[in-house]
């Protein structure tokens, strides 16, 4: 019976891990996408043009 509980716990942990890994892959795709988009925006609107706040400067606006 104890083995049973342990097996169940292991299975639950594995499925939690699976969910995490799947979500992590999504995150990585989105991050790649975002990085590409940032560099596109920056290429199209070179320094000097007022195209909203440059994303790079964002961290600065926080204390």
């Amino acid at each position: 019976f104890l083995e049973d509980v342990k097996c169940q716990a292991k299975a639950e942990l594995q499925s939690s891990d699976g969910r995490y890994q799947a979500q992590r892959r999504i995150t990585q795709l989105l991050q790649t996408e975002l990085l590409q988009l940032y560099s596109r925006v920056e290429t199209e609107a070179p320094a000097g043009t007022a195209s909203g706040s440059p994303p790079g400067g964002r961290a600065d606006s926080y204390p």
Binding site: T27, Y38, P55, G56, R58, A59, S61, Y62, P63
Partner: protein, 283 residues
Amino acid sequence: SYYEKVGFRGVEEKKSLEILLKENPLDLEKLSTFSQRFPLPSMYRIHVWKVLLGILPPHSDSHALVGGYRKEQYNDILEALHVMRYVNCSTPFTDVCLRMFQLESQVLPRCSETTGPDEENEDFLSIARSMEEIVDDPIDCYWLIKCFVHQFHAKFGDSIPHLPKSLEHYLSQEEPRLLRHLKNTDALAQLPYGLWFRRCFAGCLPESSLCRVWDKVISGSCKVLVFVALEILLSYNNVLLGISRPEGVAKLLCNIPQENTDAIVTKAIDSWHKYCGTPMHAV
């Protein structure tokens, strides 16, 4: 001599803590009681804090696994904040921690919303700055800040507003003349309660003294904060009696000299034990 006695006691305490830390699973109640009664030896402090705050589970054989999860979670959040440009390499560590905490609590402000100075954020940052001085490892440090702040609000959020009244009560017992003076000069309402009771003395006491107070807070008492405040008032009794402007009082108390704070904390813990009792059961 006094020192031999204290030294001996220290060795005995360390041994009994070591026994507690060898148990598997760890007994959280016993660990809390130990931390309430005795100062934690600095070599075990971070570990005990992590266990008491639930960063590490009671089962020691899960520590490697769970520690690994904590590390991944930290790295994931940090990476995302970098990619989204909320932080960069020159962002101070405590600001990074604030952003990470906000991301996890789903209150990260959008880029368009420039956030002005916010009391709650300032409290967080102040606690984070002190924790950064106490804890070397950034992953441990972030988790300790996050769980300390979270537990403090969850456990004591309702009690905090009552602490000033409690302080007034004990001051009336210990030094009624000072209490009268503070009342008459309108200084009582302007004592730095936020610094004392919301920031738990972060930015007020040097870290070496502060961690002895936080031992008590993390193991389950916010009442100890009242006695630290009380002892600060008592040790500046004579100076305070000579100040008639409330701003002067606040200025002094927000910038107390950092030399004799160890003695203040020792006295505070003694009088906290005296008034509230020493937790006695099984150590």
